[in-house]
């Protein structure tokens, strides 16, 4: 569509007619300051097309204040190779005329034809509004509205689609969207957006599951019921069979039989046990008899042994008896030797004493003579000391002597004790008026004598008994005592005391006196250190001593010195003699002892032999032996018999297997009890089962099941219907959506192509998406996040808006639609660089479309390759023409 000429008169500020012609095929730049009439021209074009000529509400078209004016617009344009002329007058003398190649339309017809050709809707009443404008509304951009695209596209949508759709053949559908909506709503009744069942469909599925579960439960009950019925039948049959057969009775009979067998076996076992005991007794008896027989044999052997032993003993006794006299002689010799030695020794002692005394006497006499002269001086010594010394001199006992005395006394006492203990005691009790002589001493009545040596007892009218004391030491002991007493007496005599106690007194007195003399001497030595007194005293002492010595010597016998051995020799000889005597006595004693013992042994052996012999010779014993032999034979026979019997019986018992018999009894008994118990239990189970079945059977299980199955079947069919409906709806909806999308894509494809064409000039490699309503969607620029159209900056939206409109125009042009582009003060928000690009875009579009570009900034558009037509100039030209 190419506008060639525009003429207005009585139209707003153009009270006078204004005609513009010479429009170029491409860009037509019309400039002028504000209020110069640019927008009025645009309004005029819009009015010519959109406004119903018959409308009465278009008062704004009149010049201000001129109510009688008839606004008129005339347009001449070419389209589809034809020349069109449109003439419209409003408000006064309204008319509309459209001439095409000589063909003329007028009034509503002309307006409808225009609407169909350009793609808009004529308002049925009143002024035309944006929603009526359709495609021109999209291509004719009002001042300051370049960025608002959505509404315009929406208003143009149906026209665009039908117009564009026409190029796609029969793809578009008048009812498509509505049908799709209905299908979707029906589908949504059954399925959720996610494809899950909902509503009736879901309820049906749930009910189906519930019914299925109920049915299974009922099936289970029916199965169980049937099983119970079968069980009942079985039990009844078993019960009847048991009642008829009573199998436990058979078992009880078997049990009794086994018990009987067991009793028999028990009897056998008892018998066996008895005979085994008998056998044992037999064995014991045999042993006893054998033992007795053996004892008899042993007795004979014993006698022989004893006889030979007695013989032996007798021989021994004879030998020993022969030795006796020899031993007695030896002892007597020893005794005599001893007694001689003892006499010698005693005399030797006396001699030694005498010599000692004589030597002292000699010495003392010399001393007396030597100090005789000084004695007189000594007499002057203190009388007290003298007296003390005199007294002291009377004392013979010193410590040594006393100790010796004491030792002797002790020795003697011990010997006496020993003698008392081992002496042979002779106790006698004589009849009155009877007497006897013991060791020459007459005794009568009752008494006791200790016999220390061989003693003769003479009893008148009876004879003489010689008693030799048996103790081995007794003789020696008596001798020791005699010697001890002699020694003691000698010492006592020497010390001039009668007893040990007197000696002790003397000793004590001596000690006291010594002490006193020492004291006095020390005192005396202090007064008179010279020894004259001492000498005098000594002289006196010597004199006293001499007299004493004389006295003593006088008492002693005079012995021939040469006949006596020295004392030590005498003592030694005595000692040796005592040893020999002791030996002899000991030998004699031992021999006697042995002899006595042997005699006793011989006697007892003889007695034993005699007794044994007597026993062996007993006729009763012979008889016993014979009997024993007989009973042994009898016992052996009995043993053989019993052994045979018990062996046979043991085999019989073993064959009867008493352990298994016991088990049999238990088994039969338990089985019988079990069977009977089973019978009773079964009876109870039968009653219970019957009761249960009766109540269950009345429930009509299978009938209910059939009803439930019917419900399930019905529900299942309903479910199937719903399912297939859902499937069908799903399929249908899918197909419809798919077709619709396909269509949209086909519609979008060319638009996209044109958009891309322009967009590349502004943003290389960018892409502007188009939605199914052919609205620009996201802008995807290289290296940036995608932006929604509405989120773009004001300037960008204006630019995208223009690009989109140019693309629509290209699209429309391709299907032969009129594409006049009017831009009233476009791109005022674009910066310089973008504007430069946009100008290139616009210039490119102008190669295909006529563009009317109104602007108050002519300098901005100087580089569009066309002259700017000044509004003022146009007005002048119009006025001028």
């Amino acid at each position: 569509m190419k506008l060639q000429q525009l003429r207005v008169s009585q139209f707003r500020q153009f009270r006078e007619p204004l005609s513009i012609d010479g429009f170029g095929a491409g860009i037509n730049l019309i400039c002028g300051p504000n209020e110069s009439g640019k927008s009025t021209l645009v309004r005029a074009i819009r009015a010519a097309f959109f406004e119903r000529h018959s409308s009465g509400t278009l008062g704004d078209l009149r010049p201000w204040g001129d109510s009688g004016a008839a606004p008129e617009v005339e347009l001449v344009f070419t389209h589809a190779g034809k020349q069109w002329q449109l003439s419209k007058r409003f408000l006064q003398r309204k008319r509309c005329d459209l001439t095409v190649e000589g063909e003329r339309f007028s009034g509503d017809e002309a307006e409808d034809k225009l609407a169909a050709m350009l793609g808009f809707t004529v308002a049925t009443r009143g002024a035309s509004k944006a929603e009526h404008w359709g495609i021109p509304g999209l291509l004719w951009i009002e001042q300051g509205m370049g960025q608002e695209l959505g509404e315009a596209v929406t208003h143009a949508g149906d026209h665009l689609k039908s117009v564009l759709g026409a190029s796609l053949g029969e793809m578009t559908s008048s009812d498509g969207d509505e049908i799709t909506r209905q299908v979707r709503s029906r589908l949504e009744e059954l399925l959720t957006g996610g494809g899950k069942p909902r509503g009736d469909y879901k309820a049906s599925i749930e009910r189906l599951a519930a019914l299925g579960s109920d049915l299974r439960e009922l099936d289970q009950r029916i199965i169980s019921y049937r099983q119970q019925v079968d069980r009942l039948g079985e039990l009844r049959q078993q019960q009847a069979s048991d009642e008829a057969e009573r199998p436990w009775q058979t078992l009880r009979a078997q049990q009794q039989e086994a018990e009987q067998k067991q009793a028999e076996v028990t009897l056998l076992a008892d018998q066996q046990q008895r005979e085994m005991q008998e056998l044992e007794q037999n064995r014991n008896s045999r042993q006893m008899v054998l033992d007795q027989l053996r004892a008899h044999d042993e007795q004979s052997e014993d006698l022989q042994q004893r006889q030979s032993k007695a013989q032996q003993l007798l021989g021994q006794l004879e030998r020993l008896s022969a030795q006796h006299a020899e031993l007695a002689a030896t002892r007597d010799t020893a005794l005599a030797a001893y007694q001689q030695a003892r006499e010698q020794e005693r005399k030797a002692h006396q001699l030694a004493r005498r010599q000692t005394l004589e030597r002292e006497q000699q010495q003392l006499l010399r001393q007396q003579q030597q100090y005789q002269t000084s004695v007189a001086q000594a007499r002057q010594l203190q009388s007290d000391l003298l007296e003390q010394q005199q007294r002291l001199a009377a004392i013979r006992v010193d410590d040594t002597q006393f100790a010796r005395l004491e030792a002797l006394q002790t020795q003697l006492r011990e010997l006496n004790i020993r003698q008392q203990s081992i002496a042979t005691r002779l106790r006698f009790e004589l009849l009155p008026d009877q007497q006897m002589s013991v060791g020459g001493e007459l005794v009568n009545c009752t008494g006791e004598s200790l016999l220390l040596q061989e003693t003769w007892i003479e009893i008148a009218g009876v004879g003489q008994l010689t008693i030799t004391p048996g103790g081995q030491d007794l003789g020696e002991l008596v001798r020791q005592i005699e010697r001890g007493q002699e020694q003691l007496q000698a010492l006592l005599d020497e010390l001039q005391v009668v007893s040990l106690d007197a000696a002790r007194e003397q000793l004590e007195l001596g000690r006291t006196l010594n002490t006193a003399i020492l004291t006095n001497r020390r005192l005396q030595a202090g007064h008179a250190p010279e020894g004259i007194d001492a000498l005098t005293q000594q002289l006196t002492v010597g004199k006293t001593r001499l007299s004493e010595l004389e006295q003593e010597l006088h008492g002693l016998p005079t012995l021939a010195e040469e006949q006596l051995p020295p004392i030590n020799i005498a003592e030694q000889a005595l000692e040796q003699a005592a040893g020999r005597l002791q030996q002899a006595e000991k030998a004699t004693g031992e021999h006697n002892e042995t002899l006595i013992k042997l005699r006793q042994n011989v006697a007892s052996a003889d007695e034993e032999c005699r007794l044994l012999q007597a026993r062996l010779d007993d006729p009763q014993r012979r008889q016993q032996q014979l009997q024993l032999n007989d009973s042994l034979l009898a016992l052996r026979a009995d043993q053989t018999r019993l052994e045979q019997l018990t062996q046979e019986r043991a085999a019989r018992i073993a064959n009867a297997r008493p352990d298994i018999l016991e088990q049999d009894i238990q088994r039969y008994s338990a089985s019988a009890a079990q069977l009977e118990q089973t019978f009773n239990q079964r009876r109870e189970e039968l009653i219970a089962l019957q009761a249960r079945l009766q109540s269950e059977g009345a429930d009509g299980l299978e009938e209910n099941r059939a009803k439930l199955a019917a419900e399930l079947e019905s529900e299942s069919r309903r479910h199937q219907q719903l399912e297939s409906r859902a499937n069908a709806l799903n399929l249908l909806h899918g197909l419809l959506s798919e077709k619709r999308q396909q269509l949209t894509r086909q519609l979008q494809a060319p638009l996209q192509k044109h958009l891309d064409h322009y967009l590349q000039l502004l943003f290389p490699q960018a892409r502007l998406e188009v939605d199914e309503n052919l609205l620009p969607g996201r802008l995807i620029r290289h290296g940036q996040e995608a932006d929604e159209f509405d989120a773009l900056s004001f300037g960008s939206r204006e630019q995208m808006g223009l690009i989109s409109r140019l693309a629509y125009a290209d699209l429309l042009r391709e299907v032969g639609r009129p594409t006049l582009i009017i831009l009233d003060d476009a791109l005022v928000h674009s910066d310089q660089p973008r504007l430069e690009q946009m100008k290139r875009i616009l210039f490119d579009a102008a190669q295909r479309h006529q563009v009317l570009l109104f602007s108050c900034h002519p300098d901005k558009w100087r580089d569009m390759g066309v002259p700017a037509r000044e509004m003022e100039g146009l007005k002048v030209t119009a006025t001028g023409s």
Partner: protein
């Protein structure tokens, strides 16, 4: 001359799952009313007895109410009813029969033959030899004892049994409850009344399956009848007359629609069925949308007229013609969808495609009939 009715397989208490909550109970009820008609027929013909050869009840656990109703349905005929347990109502340890007795529901003139022993009906002139099932299934011939059972010579020997006659029926292989086809000869029976086979079938001149008196399945030859049996004297040839007694015939049709006249024939055929029936209709072939509309109308009409009308259209394809599409005003891509659905019916999921096409066409029809085109 003894005369009796021979029937069997009443299957009282049977439910018809597939026919839904409305028609199912009606068919269940129909079985009872048929029994009432049998009783009335017995009275009308003044027969000596009615023999029911097993499966009187459909199951052991039928509700007490149904049990009572069955025995009450017998009222019209006061002669002896001779009933034999079948496999569905076997004389088990606990059975519907023991329950019926417990309920005191069994009238005196009903003879339950629960044990295999001779029953004498001297007054009526015959002895009955029953072979009751005491288990659900047996694999030995329960009628064998008939051979050795003696009866008074002046009485007819009537056997009554429930099972499969060996070697005669098609489905008898390994089937339980076998019956020797020579039993009548072997046991010198005058008549052997059989049950179990739901169709009416003559095995020999003395052995009959009466079939069920009220048809209960589509495949059933001669069901819906009972036997009117007359026998002059022992040894005489029985005169057996089948009598129709059932209420609803069961029809199963399979039709192919290829050309327009096929549909006309089908509709005519449907309209020509006079008695209320149970119909199972399976259609295959092709139909245009206009034809489909006519078919639906005819099916709707038949559904109202008959007890049950089941139809299966899964194998029927809807092939819209250009006229169809024009009539639907399915322009633009809607037309394409219609074509696509038509094509999809050749594929696997043709059922869904057919239904989708149905929905689409009905939507379009509604839109152009009721609404104003936008």
């Amino acid at each position: 001359m003894p005369r009796f009715l021979h029937t069997a397989d009443w299957q009282i208490g049977r439910q018809y799952d597939r026919f839904g909550p409305e028609d199912g109970p009606a068919l269940t009820q129909a079985r009872l009313t048929t029994v009432e008609r049998i009783a009335a027929l017995g009275a009308e013909l003044a027969v000596d007895a009615v023999l029911v050869a097993g499966d009187i009840f459909d199951a052991q656990t039928i509700s007490d109410r149904t049990v009572r109703r069955l025995f009450m349905a017998l009222q019209a005929f006061n002669g002896p009813w001779i009933m034999l347990p079948g496999n569905h109502d076997a004389a088990l340890a606990e059975s519907i029969w023991t329950r019926a007795r417990r309920l005191n529901a069994v009238p005196d003139n009903v003879h339950l033959l629960l044990t295999p022993e001779v029953s004498l009906f001297a007054e009526q002139g015959f002895a009955v030899l029953p072979a009751p099932l005491t288990q659900r299934h047996t694999f030995n011939d329960l009628t064998e004892w008939f051979d050795h059972a003696s009866t008074p010579p002046e009485l007819l020997r009537i056997g009554i049994a429930h099972g499969s006659v060996q070697g005669i029926l098609a489905e008898d292989i390994d089937s339980p409850n076998p019956i020797d086809p020579q039993r009548a000869e072997r046991a010198r029976l005058d008549y052997l009344a059989l049950g179990d086979w739901h169709g009416c079938r003559q095995i020999s001149n003395r052995i009959w399956y009466s079939g069920t008196p009220e048809q209960d399945r589509f495949k059933s030859n001669g069901a819906g009848q009972l036997m009117d049996v007359r026998i002059d004297a022992p040894g005489a040839e029985p005169q057996v007359t089948p009598i129709a007694i059932g209420e609803f015939p069961w029809l199963q049709w399979q039709r192919r629609l290829s050309v327009a006249s096929d549909l006309d024939a089908l509709i005519e055929e449907l309209d020509s069925i006079e008695r209320s029936s149970v119909i199972n209709l399976t259609l295959e072939g092709e139909l245009d949308l206009a034809g489909e509309q006519r078919l639906q109308t005819a099916l709707g009409r038949a559904q109202a007229q008959h007890r049950v009308l089941e139809y299966h259209l899964a194998e029927l394809r809807l092939i819209p013609t250009d006229e169809d599409i024009a009539a639907l005003q399915a322009d633009g891509y809607l037309g394409e969808v219609v074509n696509q659905l038509r094509d999809l019916q050749q594929a696997d999921d043709h059922d869904t495609a057919r239904e989708a096409l149905g929905i689409l066409s009905s939507l379009l029809r509604e839109r152009h009939a009721g609404g104003t085109p936008a």
